[in-house]
């Protein structure tokens, strides 16, 4: 039940883009076509989950026992950058087709603030679901939270890409063309997602 609440809350209620404002740059950048949007969401999903697990373990067994928590930011960004590189190399060897699909998006992910944001959030914020007591997540919950959050990212991205493909065909006043109308559309989407806020 607890896991179900985490999943619902991370995907709909606290959607990473529409409620937490993480990963907005790639969200706006690669969402003009549905196919690139799905590719990017796939890559983000993979990296966020992996990075959260690795940084969680590093924080728990390395930074905290040694009293080095103040190095968290530096340590995490280095781990994420290294991880993205490793994922790229491994994918190239193991699954060339997946590599071709995600390839160009992988290097971009290092500077996607969603990855670092989720990693930092998981180790430093206390969560409470459905009125339960606030607590730090354990490894299992952290993994589920990261996976669900990135699915929420994918959902928002794919929905938005669909809307943008339709927008491109419409006539928009000149000053609204491009990003402004896209931002206003996201605003309306965010308003729709606010409707979920009572569930969990």
């Amino acid at each position: 039940m607890e896991y179900l609440l985490i999943i619902l809350s991370a995907i709909f209620v606290n959607n990473i883009v529409l409620a937490q404002f993480l990963g907005v740059c790639p969200f706006l950048g690669v969402s003009s076509k549905l196919s690139t949007a799905t590719g990017m969401s796939g890559a983000v999903c993979f990296v966020i989950t992996l990075a959260t697990v690795v940084t969680y373990l590093i924080n728990k067994f390395f930074l905290v026992p040694l009293g080095l928590v103040y190095l968290q930011t530096i340590a995490f960004i280095l781990v994420i950058a290294a991880l993205v590189q490793i994922v790229e190399i491994v994918l190239k060897k193991i699954s060339p087709s997946l590599y071709r699909a995600l390839g160009i998006f992988l290097p971009l992910i290092t500077t996607n603030c969603a990855v670092l944001g989720v990693a930092i959030n998981v180790v430093s914020k206390e969560f409470s679901f459905a009125g339960g007591a606030a607590h730090f997540l354990n490894l299992g919950e952290a993994t589920v939270y990261a996976l669900a959050t990135s699915l929420g990212y994918g959902l928002a991205m794919v929905l938005f890409a669909g809307l943008r493909e339709r927008l491109a065909l419409n006539e928009v006043p000149a000053s609204f063309k491009g990003l402004p109308i896209a931002l206003i559309t996201v605003g309306i989407m965010a308003m729709a997602f606010m409707g979920f806020s009572g569930i969990v």
Binding site: F21, T111, V115, L116, I120, L179, L183, G187, M191
Partner: protein, 194 residues
């Protein structure tokens, strides 16, 4: 480019928020009030100036293959410094801005200026560039914050001029996107791009 041009281009011509559209996450997330926007802008400016200075100094000796990781470490060090300073001197500001202070590391403006400007220019020019872009970013964030605060809570820099609540949606997530969208339209119109 003259020194004055470097300093002022961040205001209009290369405004990081409205023209370059970089660093969207803190722009949207921290502008719930004018003060928060201003503080976030200043925090980013701090990192931007220092990292620009250091990167312009070390750029000639950094091997090309590893320059991005090196730049990120430089930026992350300054962000850590900023975190410690803020925790010590302005703990409540640190508390309000929360996650978005460590996230300055992955703010594309900082890395973008390092890559596009500081690595190719002199120390003085890079410092001026940091100040200029920083001011541009701070001003944009403050303007967004002012609009959202007026509409959302009926106040300005904490000074309340309407009794009761404002339009709550403007303080929450949807308002951030919508206000930024409309301000961008206004900016396009005024800058005469259309």
């Amino acid at each position: 480019m003259s020194k004055l041009q470097i300093l002022t281009k961040g205001l209009l011509k290369e405004n990081p928020t409205f023209v370059l559209v970089l660093g969207m996450c803190p722009t949207l997330a921290t502008t719930t009030s004018a003060m928060n926007g201003l503080e976030m802008g200043l925090a980013t400016m701090f990192v931007l100036i220092l990292s620009n200075i250091v990167i312009s100094l070390i750029a000639p000796v950094v091997p090309d293959k590893v320059h991005i990781p090196v730049y990120i470490v430089v930026i992350a060090s300054f962000v850590t410094l900023l975190q410690l300073l803020m925790q010590a001197y302005v703990p409540d500001v640190y508390e309000t801005l929360g996650l978005f202070i460590p996230l300055i590391v992955v703010n594309c403006i900082v890395l973008g200026r390092a890559e596009a400007f500081a690595s190719k220019n002199s120390v003085v020019d890079s410092a001026l560039d940091g100040i200029g872009i920083g001011i541009g970013f701070t001003l944009s964030l403050t303007v967004i914050g002012i609009v959202r605060e007026i509409l959302g809570s009926g106040s300005l820099f904490g000074w309340k001029f309407i009794a009761g609540d404002g339009i709550l949606a403007f303080v929450m997530a949807p308002g951030a996107f919508i206000v930024l969208g409309y301000l961008m339209v206004l900016f396009n119109k005024l800058a005469g791009k259309q």
